[in-house]
Each structure stands twice: as structure tokens, then as C-alpha cells.
Symmetry: C3
Subunit: 452 residues, 3 copies
Amino acid sequence: MITNRKLSDPRARELFDEMANWPIFDPHSHIDPHRPAARGIDEILGYHYYTELAHSAGMPAELVGASVDPDVRVHHLSRYLARLDNTEQYAWLVELAQTFHGFSHDQITPATIDELILAADHGHDGSAWDQSVWDRSKLEAVFLTNDFDDPLTGWDTSRYIPCLRTDDLVLKLHEPTTVERLKKATNVDVCDLASLRIALGSIVEYFVSHGARACAVSLPPDFVPRAAATKRAVTPIRRVLHGLDLRPDELVEVRQTVFWMLAELCDDHGLPFDLMIGPIRNVYPAGVAGGRDLFDRRVSLYDYRELFNHFSNVVFPVSTLSPDASAELVAYSWIFPNVIPMGHWWYSNVPSYIAADLTARLQAVPKTKLLGYYSDAYKLEFILPKFNMYRRILARTLATAMEERGWTMDRAMDVAKRVLRENAVSCFSRQSRGSRTSRYEGNEKDAAFSGI
Amino acid sequence: MITNRKLSDPRARELFDEMANWPIFDPHSHIDPHRPAARGIDEILGYHYYTELAHSAGMPAELVGASVDPDVRVHHLSRYLARLDNTEQYAWLVELAQTFHGFSHDQITPATIDELILAADHGHDGSAWDQSVWDRSKLEAVFLTNDFDDPLTGWDTSRYIPCLRTDDLVLKLHEPTTVERLKKATNVDVCDLASLRIALGSIVEYFVSHGARACAVSLPPDFVPRAAATKRAVTPIRRVLHGLDLRPDELVEVRQTVFWMLAELCDDHGLPFDLMIGPIRNVYPAGVAGGRDLFDRRVSLYDYRELFNHFSNVVFPVSTLSPDASAELVAYSWIFPNVIPMGHWWYSNVPSYIAADLTARLQAVPKTKLLGYYSDAYKLEFILPKFNMYRRILARTLATAMEERGWTMDRAMDVAKRVLRENAVSCFSRQSRGSRTSRYEGNEKDAAFSGI
Amino acid sequence: MITNRKLSDPRARELFDEMANWPIFDPHSHIDPHRPAARGIDEILGYHYYTELAHSAGMPAELVGASVDPDVRVHHLSRYLARLDNTEQYAWLVELAQTFHGFSHDQITPATIDELILAADHGHDGSAWDQSVWDRSKLEAVFLTNDFDDPLTGWDTSRYIPCLRTDDLVLKLHEPTTVERLKKATNVDVCDLASLRIALGSIVEYFVSHGARACAVSLPPDFVPRAAATKRAVTPIRRVLHGLDLRPDELVEVRQTVFWMLAELCDDHGLPFDLMIGPIRNVYPAGVAGGRDLFDRRVSLYDYRELFNHFSNVVFPVSTLSPDASAELVAYSWIFPNVIPMGHWWYSNVPSYIAADLTARLQAVPKTKLLGYYSDAYKLEFILPKFNMYRRILARTLATAMEERGWTMDRAMDVAKRVLRENAVSCFSRQSRGSRTSRYEGNEKDAAFSGI
């Protein structure tokens, strides 16, 4: 098996080989369900990881601009890839090319790029290619990230599971198009707090009735959730809905209010609310598309205490962006039943950070609460190499636990199953308030996630 | 030897086996000297680590409430333990049960819990059981955490060493009972700054004369020690002592003033002042008893500079709560003679955090300053498995130093001795100002701690 | 080879042995080019690492004061060295003594110190000894840290490469001597913003014309670069140049303005601007010389976003002081073309921190951007043992990459070459704006650094 070659410990290899047979349940991605797999290599190399790293290594952003012909864009990029061939992101790319396109080289260079362009051309295969990547990757379910006005139609929502992304509502309600989109999507004449609540409610209901299993939002480091105070919020909300200018404190109020309403709706509908904490958008405006966001590491989950306490029935799968914030998430997941550490996100999605964090989570957080990994992918092809990276790290970490903690292979395998799949299946399967409220009544069996 | 099975490196095993013969000197615990060992398994399973992790994994807090019958409580908990059997805390429990109760299983479950209840029932053995655990653990001395009004009588203070916990005085002087307790304990009519100083002085004197070897306090992340300014403090102190309401800035002033007075008293009496930096109390009020506190990771030792500079003759053994704050403690211990890194506390008491932190301390802080570990235990039985966890990490870390740094076994063993025991013995043995002021006069020998 | 004994993995040993043959290009040091190597062991043991660690371990600062006779000072220190013989800093010392002075012991103690004093006495060898250390260390180039009024004459600037240290200008313009020194060095009657700009420009031009290859500055954690606003700055600048008192906000304005001017001059002259972020001076005033500075870990590169965006043509090699800040630097280097992670500085220059950080950089930052290491040394003798420490860590890290990532020896060796030398050579070789602006025109070859 090609992908276990990097594991020298026989226990790790055995663990990996077993995991490689399991279906992949991917609880967070940016896949377009209408066009899940890439039709050509440009859609793969256009992933921001490659364009931003190549740009960081000296490639002018214009060389991969939207107006450049896809083949030319790919050629441009190929000239810079050698500069980043040490990165793990590059390793995903090579594994992807070898796995899905029969690419026979170890490096993607100007000399080999044409071969790859040809091999990856599936412009005429359409959904057959999607299915082929799906099968080869042993995908079971892939969560999407849907805008609030996505009609959610035209695909199999048992495979591509809707997830309501609420960033626009929480963070961009003051931008003119948002309110228009909201009115159009809900047919509600959104003009004040009450009608806003109705509109948001109808969005969430629509999503739930169309198979959504989670809400999600990415929040900047200075965002502090606060219980909505109608009195305080009523004027700013009215102003924002009428397109009037807001003072900074009013914008804060608007964001807090919308966020809190959404948490209430998650509570009403039994939806987990994925919190992705940390990014600041457009820190480097001259960067390539998707490669402009960074963070301020001075962030703490302490700012979320009121939220976690108030919504004790809402599960919050939490991802933090700054790698040095990960130990705090271990502590908060250890104490709060409804705080669940989820995956390893973006700037933290680096093997050495994952390994350190995973080891700590496995030592200090109940195994039923660990949501191991999600791909965050834009194209199906990336899910397998990214999960394989994680599986290798998990296999090594569990092999070390066998060595240092005396675990048996069965015990390691049990943990692997939960962390990779069962916890996520369980966490995101609960949909009605009814099923949730019954969860403490006799159901202490050790079979599945019971975060709260 | 059962407890070295997890060490595959023969050098690590040799180091561990040697360490396992040494007496344990435990410089911080919450042992009740009147009832040090557990009379039954409920006192073991009632440790907040288990109730809070089980609660975090889905167990309702009521199931282990104070009003529940102990045996029922234990049965409740046993149904949830499988969910956290991956944690290191669970590993302590199994090692404890196997070592002290002859428990023959690997897992504590509803099927095996009755066996354990029976085996751990020492309700009729009284102090003989205490002695048995003491002997089996090879305990030498265990530091307590005593309230300021503890009479400190009724036990052997050469075994169970008093330590003055000052949290109530520093942080809760504004709570009505504190002043009453202080008056009662000291017979001082505490009513202003001068009488407060007299009362605190008499407390410290009482403790020192009853064998106390340290003061200790746990401080929230926003606490900033500041030199007392009588002028500024006189009114807030008078108000707090008369039970009047305080403005927030007055409360800050009161806390800073009391803390500074206590540091002065440590200076006067040659007492180390243990600083345990970071916890915020009651962040999750609905949690189980002992499982409600967390932290804000945005904390820095820079806030303590005035204290460390001013009290150059006071040794400050420092524990930090947020794992990501540990590298700063390495730097401050490297520069300040009176800053001593002490153990691995609570949310940092996780093997992967300990290992990373210990490696750095061993590479950058003088070996005579390292206070390796303390148990923080509430019952004697926990001291051995917790120290064994640390000993295994220390053994592995030293075996790596032998491999990567060319250390001999003798050298590794010498470091182990200091880190585990000698430094603590030395640090906490100095009691009179006289002996301290002579410390620079010719005593540069390499035999013991000489932090300042 | 003595220095590879600590590497048990044969691949790591092969990598190290090869690296040990390469010339050392050291892009940051504090070497005095008039007296680069030590004339006696006191100049070695006087390095602040030893005096501060010994002081931290109990040695009174007075024992190594400036007024103490050098031989006596060395004897004093030798009595305390055993206390810190576990530290990596001590390991440099022993390797240094063995390599350059034929020291045959493993420990430097009162019993062996006289032998070392004798062996290290090169008071009469003068520059022949400098040359001997240079050759033995295989040095190629060593960057200096020159005051702005250093005449830069009297040495071979192709070996000892000038670097303009701008701390005095940015942070101490309000101290009386700075303006005087500036006037004297430039012959400009510095009295307002315009003349200040002329003076700074003439300093930078002088440095460039005398072979300088970089500017450098160390900045406290609360420093936030901000675009100069002439209107706002004109009065504070005039006041500071006339020696008038400044309000705190005016001092901030002055610092920001001078810093921004220097960045503009780096832009004009194609000079990299080394940013060394984090130290706070004199946190422990009673410490030994050089051992008084520490940091506040609450720092973020987010504060530098305006700088990095505005000066897209200036390369910023960045060192951060707080070890826990290193992951943020990985992210900023991954996104900003002009942010380059440089070495492992001071409190981060500890093997375990280096290893963790290096692994992450090798996984997530383009290999052409990694400036592996600099010595920060005050005496030539330290460069080799410090680089050897780094080479061992790099060798181990690359051996792990061969194991876990399937890299060939050639690939590992290629990365080693870039990280250790080629990237630094390339980064610091660009001197004229002309050569920089041509950098995007066809020069995408994979041969060298092209950070921007």
C-alpha cells in the first residue's frame, strides 16, 4: 500500500492499513456539490494553499489571476512548486496526483506538468469522475458549507450534507447585499429585531428540513459572544437593516445579537454549532485569492464562557486557528460537556502541530468527544490525501500509546474508530430537540458520542 | 515491576527502577492529615478529575451530587468511565486500584466496580490503612494546603507539613466570613491597615512555629502584584474590614495590599511563597464540585516583575496553569534567582505537556532550581501513581539526554535525584532569615538548592 | 568526529558529517571585528549566558562584576558552573573548550579551570588566533551589529559584514547622547523631521557604501509600527531633537516615525530589515550585565501588518523572542512574501524549542525562505558549537523527514544546504533597487532565495 510507506513502526502500519479500509466521514468541507471533483488540474492547483505558498516564495500574484488561461496558470505555478516541495501541502498534491491521475513522478515541475494536465483532464467525464473519486476515496458523507440563501437542491443531501454557514449573517449584515439576500431568501420584510428573528428562524428551518446537520461560523479573535439584550440591540439592528451607518459599538452589538439568535435557533433545532475561532480577513490584501487571511494569536476561549454556559444543550464543535491556542481548547473540552475539539484547522493543519495536539487530546479529553479531522477541501480529490496524512499521524500516535501506555491493538483500534468516524456520525446525527432531551435517560452505553 | 512496563528503552527502565526506590517528597497536596488515605473507593472516584471528565463526557452532575449515597454515586460514575478510559487520569486510577487494592482488571466498569468497592473498603482500618499506603508509596513528606485558621494540631507535622494557603486572605477578604475568621484565629481586632498587618503577622508566625514551610496562593490571570502604597490602600482596607461595599478598583487595591504584606511576611520568616498562576474560579458554574474552574491563556509573568525584583530574598516556586505559558516560566527562571519552576499543574499536568516542558527546563534552567513534581492530591493513594507518571516521563527524558547529549547514567541519575527530591528538600528547609543571609558566604558547593 | 557522537541515527550522522564540511555563513552576531576571537577564557565565560545562569543559580552578581580581576572572576564562576551543567549553554562551553583549547575534561570545575585558563590564553597571539578560530570553524562570513556611528573601518568587510543596528535611533532618540552622536556622525544639524530624514539617509548610505547588507532592530512587545504621518510627527520630532521632554504618546510617535523612515531607507537601498521582536530591557535590574532583559509573551505579528503590506519590496527576516510565538511566525511567513523566519533567538534558542519550530517551518514554509540559524555570538569561538547544535537538530529533523515523509538523502541534503547557507547568502546579497525590481523577470529558477 503506497500510503503506508512512511510508517516504519509495524503497529502503526497495521493501524493505518485498517483505517484505510474505513469509509471517510468528513464533517467540514467547501465542496461544491454540483461539481465536487475537479474537471482539470487547474482546479487542483488553484487551491489557495498552492497559489499562496508559491506567491509567498516569489511568484507574482498576477501569474495566477482569475483572468489568466487555466493552462497558462498551471504552467506558471509549476515553475514555482519546487520552492515549496518541502511542505506538507505539496505532499498532498503529489499523493493526489499519484492516486487519482496515475502520476508516476515524485515532483511536479515544468517538465512533468503537461503529463499531469493530460492525465487530470476530466472535462468530459462529468459526474462519472465525481463518482470515481468518491469510490476510490471510500467517502461516506461530506459536509458542505452553504450560504444562507443556498436553495440546497440538485444533489443527494445524504452524501453531500448541508451545513449552514452563517458568516455573512453574523459579520456582514451591514453590507448592503446581505439584507437583500436575506429578504429574497425568506420572503420576510426584514426591518427590525422581530422580523430578523423570523427570517433567521425560517432560514434555519429551511436548512434543517433540507438535511442540514450543523451551523458553522468563523469568528475573528476579538469577537466576544454576549447574551442578546433586546433593549440595547433594537436600534442598531433597525439601523443596519435599513442600510444606515453604524458606530463601531453598534456593529459589535449587531454581530453579537445575530450570533446569539443563531445559537438560540441551534438550540431549538438540535443543531451543533461549529465555531471556527481566529481568522482575520484580508490582513494581506495583495495576496492571491484565498491567501490573504491571518490571525492575532492573543485569543482566549474564556471570551466564550457565557455562550457555553447559556447554551448547555447546544454542542459546539470548536476549531481554533492559532496553533498555540490548542492547549486551551483541550482544557475547555475537558470541562464543558458541550465543547468538542474538532479537527486541526488551516494554519494548525500542519503535521507537527496536529501530532502534538492530538497526543494531548488523547491524554486529557474523553475519547467520545474527539472529532478527529475534517478535510476543509474545495475539491473531492483532496479529501483522501488529507485524511491519509491525519491517519498516519493518528496511527503513529496510537502506536506510541501502545508502547508507552500499554494499550492493546484492540484498544488503539477502538479509539481510532471513534476519533475518525463514530464520534462525528453521532455528534451530527441528532436533529430534533426530542431526541436530545432524552439523552440522559438510561443511555449511558459506551457506543457513541454523548457530548452533552 | 509493574510500573516500568511502559518503558521500552532499557536506560529509561533502569532510571525508573532506581527512582522507584527513592522516598517521595511531595511539596504540594490537598491531603487532609486527619484522614489522609481514602476509607472507600468513593473518596477516590470522587476526585474531581473523574467526576468532571465523566460529566464532560455526558454524565449529569446530579448523579454524583453530595446528596447521593456513596455506593450509588460510584455505580453512576462507573457507567461513564469507559468514555474516558483513554485519559491519563484514568490510567492513574487503574494503577492505583491495582497497586493498593489488588484490582486485577484493566478497566473499571459496572461489571468490575463491586469488586473494587469491596477491595477498597477500609472504613474499619483507620490509620493503619493510612500507614500502609504511606509505606507502600515510600512517602517521606507531604505538604498540605492549610486554611489560615487551621489550628495545625492533631498530626505529625514532620510527615504532613503545613503550608499556609492564603487565597482567602488575598482574594476573599471582602467576603463576610473571612474577616470574622481572621479575628477569631488571631484575637486581633482587625479594623485597619495596622491591625491587619498584625493579624497577618500572627498567622504567619503561628504557622512557622507549627512547622509550616511555605505560603501558597493561587492567583487569577488578571492579578498584578504591586508594591503596597499605604496612602492609597488605607481607605479600601478600612472599608473591607468593616464589611462595606468596594468599588472594583478598591477591591484590586485590597488584594494587592494583602498579597504584598504576605510577601513581606515570607521575607521576614524565610518562607518560600508558592505562586500558582492562572485559574479563574467558577467559569462553568453548572459543573461538578471541583470541576468549574478554567483560565484565560492571555497571562504573562511580566506582570510579576515588580514582585520578583522587590523580594529578592523570597523564593517563589511558580506553577502556571495554561500549558502554553510554560516557556515563559523557563525564561523567567533562567534570569531571576528567586523564580523556581515548580511541577506541572492541573491543566498542564498532562504527559505530553509535561514532557515538552521538562525537556526545555532541563536544557535551559540550572538543575539546582528544578522542582520536578508535586501530586496536588486529595488522598494519599494518588501520590504514587501520579509520581510514577512523572518518573516515567523523567526517565524517558533523561534516557533521551543520554542518547542525544552524551550524558552518562551517573549524570542522568544525579539530575533525577535533584529534580525529584533534593531541590525540594533544600528549597523548603530554610526557615530563618539568619540561615538565608549566610547563604552566599562560602556555600557554593554543588550539594543542594541555592536558588537565591 | 567528536561532534556527531550524539546522533544515533546513521542518516542523521551522515547528514551532520556533510554539513560539518560546509562553510558557515552567520547572518547575525555581535562580534567585535577589531577583536573577534577571545584573548582569554574570561572573555568566553563572561558571555552573559554563563554569568546570568550562574547568578540565577545562586552566584551573587558582584562576583563577576566589571571591577573584578578577570582570573578571579573566572574562578568565581567556575565554582557555580556545576549547577548549570545540565544546560545546553554549558554544552556549548565544553564543546568550545574541547575544540579550540584541547580541553580534555567533560566538566569545567574549580579543579580544571586553571588548565583551561592556561590553554585559552591567547593574549599574545592577536590576529593569528582570530585566523585560527576562523579557519577551524570554516567561517565564510559573519554579520556584525554596528552602532549607527560606527566608522566601519579597520577590518575586512567581506568577512565581517556590517549591519546597521538601529535600536538607538528608534528607541533612544530621546536620550541626550543619541542626537549628539547623530549630528557628529552625519554632520547634519538635525533639528526637525526633514533634517532627521537627511541624517538617517546619510547613515544608511554610509553603511551601504561600506558593505552593510542589512538593517536590524530589536523591538519591545508593545511596539506597533505605523505609517508615518508628517503632520502628527512634526512637533514630537522637533521636541525630541531639541532635548525637550515628551509625553508618552509623543515618544510612541517618535519611535514609529523613525522606524518607518528606516524602513523607507531599506526600501530605497534594497536592504533587508531584520526585526527582532519581543525583548523588554532591564526587567531584572539587579541582574548581571546582559542578563536583565526578558519579555511579555502577549505579542502578535498582527501588529506588524501595516508594515509588511506597505513595504512589499523590503525583506523582513523576523526573529521572535517568546518561544510560544513561533507558530504565528510560521503562518505569517507562509502568507507574506517578504516575511522570512530567521533563526532561533535567545530564549527560543533552546534545542527543544528549535526542534519543534524547525519541524513546523519545514512542513509549512517554502524551503527557499528558511534562514536556519545565526549565532548571536560575541566571540568567534561560540559560532561553531552553536551552529553544531543547530546542525545536529537539523540532521535529526531531516532524518525524521526521510523516515516519515519518504525523502531521499539528496532531498534532505538539498534542504540542509538552503536552510544553513544558500538562503542567507541570497537574501543578504541583494543590494540595489535595480537588481530587486528585475527579480520577477524570468528568474524563477530554483537556485536561490526569492522571498519577494
